[in-house]
Symmetry: none
Subunit: 417 residues, 2 copies
């Protein structure tokens, strides 16, 4: 059933990694992707911005690995020497990649900045390489074959690296590995249920089922289950994945919101579109973070009217119209304040649904309430409403993030039925 | 002035790292410690639980590094083969470490469990090794000299590894290095200047200065320069760092905003506090992202009043009070709309400073303008204002993030003088 094993290694170039300023999360992410494509990763190496040590590392890799993925060292400065080091060991010719050069020039032109000469280096590629556009930053990536090995060069900035991998490299690897064995994964996404409860509900499946395997994994915003199947054909793989998905949803389907890349905010925007409903938010402790997240979805403008960030108590009364009596008697961090915020912002913005966040993120207590005390309100223009009192733990940013996620969960539950 | 340069490498043994199940945070932490002890780290390697590949990795390390720190592979299972691999390459004799064996036996006795034979493996150490007690788990660590190299074996569990390093290894390294050497870093942060321009302005310094070294690094929100100095004493190190910082600021100081952990939003909140000024925002394409970021700073409530997220054009007119005529003649994505948004939100919220964001993040064009077209306005209550027309490239989220960062840059420049 297996095709020839394809072995890879991942090399990160950058002194900042050797100084411990950042962790090599690129290697972790790339390893996950390689596994999903059925490729064994045998080594990770980190090497600093030092020409001879980078060359030594490249030589070792050329000896022992079919695929070598290199991250970092493609930028414009003296320290960026990945290209030069690979040229030294391969003697491949280099050339200027005209589209990339045009893009770099346009970048500087658009900003009215003068382009310095070292920026040209970023557009240099090996002759015959497959060049990967950089949609996020400037330096392109590339893939080049050399003496039976496949070398893939990607930027070190995680966002640029991931986008380039997703846009170009994944498909190439699938071809490279060739037919025969198919490894496919499906990710099921849940909100409102913890990892341990999910693992408990699916305990027998997780322990006994081997194809697909079932792996729950806690994430910042909910829990996911990763199904991984190994099969002869895509259709067989898809069938097994779908079967297992249905088994799982029969038990915990009420917490399920989407598959693979689906996000909770995308699901919500899509539900709101279908229902032709528009939403407004009044945010205090989250400072705009809820609406920022909702509007990250392309097409959000069809359902997102706007919101009021009422950080200061006076803005809660003057702009959102929370009654000063409410604030006097119950405080700004109260069920009553959250309710008025949601109802009023819904009315002010002529929305169908209003949502509100008030609470204390930290670091200090407010109105005698400890950090982590949060009220979230949700209402519709017909007058139904629901307020939740939450107690989050963690630092300021954690409390704010958890508040946003809880708001998304409440909104999803409010509109899904 | 220098003691002999001591070069180290860090090897992690564990297939879970190659599958991407965890990131190699051990290497990051150990690198920070090594730097603090004046030791250069030249390589990180991750290798799986595979005997021949671990041996290959150890052989490479023996050739090139003075100190080799190995984490993981010391446990009781079949997969734990660090000891055996090192024995294969070194032919050093092994022996049972009696205190560790007693501890392991006691562990099982205390819990009424039967100890399986494989647990004995954990107490095996090389003859002549310095053994490190494990105060958190079971397997001891050790240090052993072999043909002029120092090998340090530590557990893979971060808690055990760190405690063992702190209790034993640090002091040994200081002796090994001969004390005296101090490595210190300082990070200088800049906004409004690109990495290549910064590198260009400092070109001669970067190329010629060796102590401290000067390394520019692009980040999502600006550029940093990392200075790293190696000296006999902390006071001497600090002096050289400060001297170089002053040289650099003499050239590019107008783009500098802070050192080390300082963030732009923290710097801004602190400046606003000192000036006793309060700020309001009207955000369209950023959806609340600017205010969310500003309010991430503890104590932001002293300077952050609130904002209006005016995603929908009607909210721009009805709530923010942008003139319908402006929108009709100039569109919502215009200098004029940005100006009215900033001025109006400043007035509505009784703020000292108003800031506004309007534009098109993507994925489609709006009002005939392509994604990436953004206007950012800033004003004070005295009536001064400044509007910038920006052209960003990248996907929807990149445009939104760049807008927020540009807004922070404009605000910083507005208030810093």
């Amino acid at each position: 059933m297996m095709t020839k094993n394809v072995n890879a290694e991942i090399i990160a170039v950058g002194t900042e990694l050797l100084l411990g300023q950042i962790a090599n999360t690129n290697a972790q992410w790339l390893s996950q992707q390689m596994a999903a494509h059925g490729i064994n990763v045998h080594f990770h190496t980190v090497v600093g911005d030092n020409r001879s040590r980078v060359e030594e590392t490249f030589k070792n890799a050329q000896k022992r690995s079919d695929i070598i993925v290199v991250t970092g060292g493609l930028g414009p400065t003296e320290d960026d020497l990945t290209r030069e080091a690979f040229q030294s060991i391969s003697h491949l010719e280099m050339t200027e990649h005209v589209p990339s050069m045009k893009k770099i020039e346009a970048f500087f032109q658009n900003r009215g900045l003068q382009m310095t000469a070292n920026n040209r280096r970023q557009a240099r590629v090996f002759k015959g390489a497959t060049v990967f556009d950089n949609n996020v930053g400037m330096a392109p990536g590339m893939m080049v074959s050399y003496k039976g090995r496949t070398w893939i060069f990607l930027p070190g900035v995680p966002r640029e690296m991931k986008q380039m991998f997703n846009d170009h490299v994944g498909a190439i690897l699938d071809k490279r590995v060739g037919g025969g064995t198919v490894i496919k994964s499906k990710v099921l996404r849940f909100i409102g249920i913890g990892e341990s409860r999910l693992a408990y509900e699916l305990d027998d499946l997780i322990r006994t089922q081997r194809n697909p395997t079932i792996a729950p994994l806690a994430q910042k915003d909910g829990v996911v289950i990763r199904l991984t199947v190994k099969e002869h054909s895509i259709s067989q793989a898809d069938m097994l994945l779908e079967q297992t998905k249905q088994h799982i949803l029969a038990r915990v389907g009420s917490f399920y919101y989407g598959t693979d890349d689906e996000t909770l905010e995308r699901k919500i925007v899509s539900l709101l579109k279908n229902q032709n409903k528009r939403i407004a938010a009044a945010e205090s402790l989250t400072g705009g973070g809820f609406y920022q997240r909702l509007t990250s979805v392309p097409g959000a403008s069809q359902v997102c009217l706007g919101g009021i960030v009422c950080y200061d108590p006076e803005v809660k009364t003057n702009i959102v119209g929370v009654s000063p009596l409410t604030i006097q008697s119950k405080g700004t961090i109260s069920r009553e304040c959250a309710a008025e915020m949601a109802v009023n912002v819904c009315r002010i913005m002529h929305a169908d649904i209003g949502i509100s966040f008030t609470g204390i993120a930290g670091t200090d207590s407010v109105e005698g309430k400890p950090p982590g005390t949060v009220y979230i309100g949700i209402c519709n223009k017909e007058g139904d409403k629901r307020i939740e009192h939450c107690t989050f733990s963690g630092d300021r940013e954690t409390v704010r993030q958890q508040s946003v996620i809880k708001g998304l969960e409440m909104l999803f539950n409010w509109i899904k039925s």
